[in-house]
């Protein structure tokens, strides 16, 4: 187990270095940074001085070394557009994205698993048909359309919920949370639902497919033959066996929810890292883009590590995985 985690950590470091290198290349070669930093009538001497001051005359591996060292200290330079340190910008906006991501992941997981089990246990029921068809609609409608639709119904027509922003926030240390105020919670509802809808249908279909598979296995038949109750069989024996693929997909989905909630954040003007990224792309704000790239990779690497550790907890066969063959 420890050896496994150590191995995974080494792999993670390699992944991060590769991503950092790509981010560095973006930083270095998407246009000349000096052109953005210096005014248009700067002289050649000014260029040379700035180049030396910023270390851009060094060979690229030395520059990459300093890039990694700085990244490790959380320094990604200064945003061209906002003239603030990039790390500070991301940290400011991170709580909003994380709260949104976790809220929508919770919704997706709870309803996805429940509906998945329900539709698997009643494969021929009318309600199953309705849910499955509905889920197809959910998958095929683009996120911005769902967001706009929800805004129209619940914010514009019914006026139940706010249509944009985070509402009031409370500062706890550097973390700015919207979960403690009523307006913050109300603001969270629509974007969280919008963001969760796609994951929800995905998880539901996955749980259903896995569950149908597991219900056909011998050990479920044997559990029936032992006279166990339906409840014990469905929720104890069957559900746990469906969890490994569900954990994998949910983990990756959570990663992409954190990293790529861009559309939802834009539709609801949610002040998270996604909208920061979109604005930075529009302004060719290279330091922010590079930092964002590294940040996204970090999110995925960490989530994958957690997912791998969860496998061990769920499946005992992996715990003494030292055996070869089957």
């Amino acid at each position: 187990m420890l050896a496994f985690i150590a191995r995974r950590l080494v792999q993670s470091v390699i992944v991060m270095l590769v991503v950092a290198f790509i981010a560095f290349l973006v930083f270095r070669y998407v246009g000349d940074p000096l052109a953005a930093l210096l005014s248009q009538d700067a002289k050649q001497a000014d260029y040379d001085a700035a180049r030396e001051r910023l270390g851009l005359d060094q060979p690229f591996y030395v520059q990459f070394y300093y890039f990694v060292i700085n990244a490790l200290q959380g320094q990604f330079g200064i945003s061209y557009r906002l003239q603030q340190p990039v790390s500070q910008l991301i940290l400011e906006r991170l709580p909003a994205t994380i709260e949104l991501a976790f809220a929508s992941a919770t919704i997706a997981l709870v309803f996805g698993v429940l509906l998945g089990i329900y539709t698997a246990l009643r494969p021929r029921a009318f309600s199953t048909g309705v849910i499955m068809t509905g889920s197809l609609v959910g998958v095929s409608l683009p996120t911005f359309l769902i967001g706009i639709g929800l805004i129209y119904v619940f914010a514009v027509e019914l006026k139940w919920l706010p249509s944009f922003g985070r509402g009031e926030v409370v500062q706890i240390g550097w973390w700015r949370t919207g979960l403690l105020t009523q307006s913050g919670l109300r603001s969270l509802v629509l974007p969280a639902i919008t963001l969760s809808l796609f994951q929800l249908t995905l998880i539901m279909r996955l749980v259903r497919a896995e569950m149908l598979e597991v219900l056909r296995t011998d050990y479920i038949r044997f559990a029936r033959a032992r006279g166990l109750s339906q409840r014990a069989i469905n929720f104890g024996h069957a559900l746990r066996n469906t969890m490994v693929p569900v954990i994998t997909i949910t983990g990756l989905q959570l990663g992409s929810v954190i990293a790529f909630a861009i559309i939802t954040e834009t539709v609801f003007q949610w002040p998270g890292v996604g909208s920061l990224f979109v604005n930075s792309v529009a302004a060719v704000d290279v330091p922010v883009m590079a930092a964002y790239l590294v940040f996204v990779a970090l999110v995925f690497v960490v989530i994958n590590l957690i997912v791998d550790i969860l496998y061990f907890i769920v499946d005992p066969r992996l715990r003494d995985g030292a055996r070869t063959g089957k």
Binding site: F4, D218, Y219, R226, S229, P316, R317, A322
Partner: protein
């Protein structure tokens, strides 16, 4: 007269399809008395498992009981509502399934599964249930049950898992145990132990047993009475001794005759002549194969000792042209590893394999020769044929890759010829594998093996996935093809009777070591190694009927 535990009358199980109704069980009637072991025998599709499922109320939809009645101690159970049926399961009727590797939930410890079952049926608290679970495991012959109860299923061997399954089935002291092929997935020596455990536990707990199996040998050793089923109907019922010695119905006679036996047979192949190893067609010399265990790609880089598992340890034998060498052994003995090395799928750690004078692992010419001359027939004809390919393409593939025949009409002619050789109609070449039965698929697999015109065929358990009567046909076909083409076979099997019938010489593998080899009759009639003797004793055989 005492009342039967189980009484089945005119049972009909139907599967409705869109335009047809398939009767899986068609008017079956028999009784099982208290404490009695009744064997239900028949080939696949005979409806024997379906009868068992009907009794315990676990018929897969859309199948359903369409007629007749099932009584448990006189009380009718086939028309009970689902909840009442669920209460019978485990409590009054226990069930043991075929494959112990898949019938336990892999994510729960053995103890958790036992305690759960016990507490569902008996009014015990956690600690009492756990104690009962330990007692049951001990009774089922699991050593150090108190320690092993917290192990997961994958930490037990197949035989041990089947003991756990039996312990689970008898946990609530049911009156009837349905054992559906309880030993078919196990090695012979383990099979004998499991039969003993099942018999002992059922008699000490006073449970009657309905033993469903295709293996007459198991029935002969275990059951008091037997029911022979064919196409959903009972063909013959009677005591085991009566049916085996004096079968009345044509089907039963045919079934009994097609069972190969480990006793000497008249048409057994001629004994191998004094083998001059150097002139032999296939020579296997000091074959060794090691596997490293417990090391991933990363930890390999770290210093430390590598654990090595020697799967095949210094195995040597030779086969003369046109003869059959039988390699027997239990699972894990290294038979299949040997086979893989001989056909060139796995590189030996050391040792030599020489086919017709060429070392097949030497590269160059030997390698090319191997692909043409050495072919393999696999165990499972359901898995070894690509389901998306037509039969013609499957059989023609070796010809195409090896460049034996190139243009279309020539390939088609050869495929048609091969199909005729394996006694199939050439018109089937447009069909897909799923349209064939198991025996027919194995014929297609044989045709594929023959299509590169090989001289040496390695057959890895060629008939163990097949019914006895089909097995007999496939074995006959193999013998005929051998004399027609002068083929040399390496026959790998755990079924000693099959090996006895087919081979000229035999080698016995145990834990990777060849413990004994010699002419077939000498080994079977006068075994020298203890292991061989133990193996031969463990074989359930209809001739051993009490």
């Amino acid at each position: 007269m005492t009342e039967p535990v189980l009484s089945i009358k005119d049972l009909v199980v139907e599967f409705p399809f869109r335009d047809d109704v398939f009767r899986a069980v068609n008017g079956v009637s028999f009784d099982i008395m208290p404490g009695e072991v009744v064997g239900v025998v028949g080939e696949s599709g005979a409806g024997k498992s379906m009868t068992g499922s009907a009794v315990i109320g676990l018929i897969e939809r859309p199948g359903h009981i369409a007629g007749g009645e099932i009584r448990l101690k006189g009380e009718r159970i086939d028309n009970l509502p689902e909840e009442a049926k669920a209460k019978l399961r485990g409590k009054r009727i226990g069930m043991v399934f075929q494959d112990p590797l898949t019938s336990l939930n892999p994510l729960y410890t053995v103890g958790e599964q036992l305690v759960e079952t016990i507490r569902t049926h008996l009014p015990l608290n956690e600690a009492q249930a756990r104690q009962k679970a330990i007692d049951l495991l001990t009774e089922a012959g699991i050593p150090k049950a108190a320690e092993r109860i917290d192990s997961y299923p994958h930490q037990f061997s197949g035989g041990m898992r089947q003991r756990v399954v039996i312990a689970l089935a008898i946990a609530a002291e049911p009156e009837l145990i349905i054992a559906d092929e309880p030993t078919s997935a196990l090695d012979v020596s383990v099979q004998a132990q499991i039969i003993k455990v099942l018999k002992k536990l059922c008699s000490s707990h006073g449970a009657a047993v309905m033993l469903i199996t295709h293996d007459m040998g198991v029935i002969a050793q275990t059951a008091d009475r037997m029911v022979v089923m064919h196409h959903g109907k009972v063909v013959e019922t009677g005591t085991v001794g009566d049916i085996i010695r004096r079968p009345r119905e044509a089907y039963t006679i045919k079934l009994i005759q097609s069972i190969p036996t480990i006793l000497r047979q008249e048409h057994a192949a001629t004994p191998a002549e004094a083998a001059n190893d150097d002139g032999a067609y296939v020579q296997v010399k000091n074959l060794v194969r090691d596997f490293e265990i417990g090391k991933g790609s990363f930890t390999k880089l770290l210093p430390g000792k590598t654990e090595i598992f020697r799967a095949v340890n210094d195995v040597s034998f030779s086969i003369s042209k046109g003869e059959t060498f039988g390699l027997v052994g239990e699972s894990g003995s290294g038979k299949s590893t040997c086979a893989k090395m001989i056909v060139g799928l796995l590189r030996p750690t050391s040792g030599q394999i020489i086919v017709d004078g060429h070392d097949i692992w030497a590269g160059g010419k030997g390698h090319q020769e191997r692909r043409k001359r050495v072919q393999m027939i696999f165990q499972d004809p359901y898995a070894s044929l690509n389901p998306r390919w037509r039969v013609a393409d499957i059989i023609a593939e070796p010809m195409r890759t090896l460049g034996i025949a190139r243009n279309r009409s020539e390939v088609d002619d050869r495929v048609a010829e091969l199909l005729r050789r394996v006694r199939l109609d050439p018109s089937v070449m447009r069909k897909f594998p799923h349209e064939f039965s198991g025996g027919q698929r194995q014929r297609i697999a044989i045709a594929r093996a023959l299509s590169s015109q090989p001289e040496f065929i390695v057959c890895d358990e060629p008939t163990s996935a097949l019914d006895v009567s089909v097995q007999a046909q496939v074995l006959d076909l193999m013998s005929e093809l051998q004399s027609e083409f002068g083929l040399t076979y390496l026959l790998i099997s755990h079924n000693l009777a099959v090996v006895r019938q087919m081979s000229n010489a035999v080698g016995v593998l145990h834990n990777g070591v060849l413990v004994e080899k010699g002419p077939t009759d000498a080994i079977f009639d006068n075994p020298q190694a203890d292991y061989t003797r133990m193996l031969l004793d463990a074989v359930p055989d209809i001739s051993k009927v009490a």
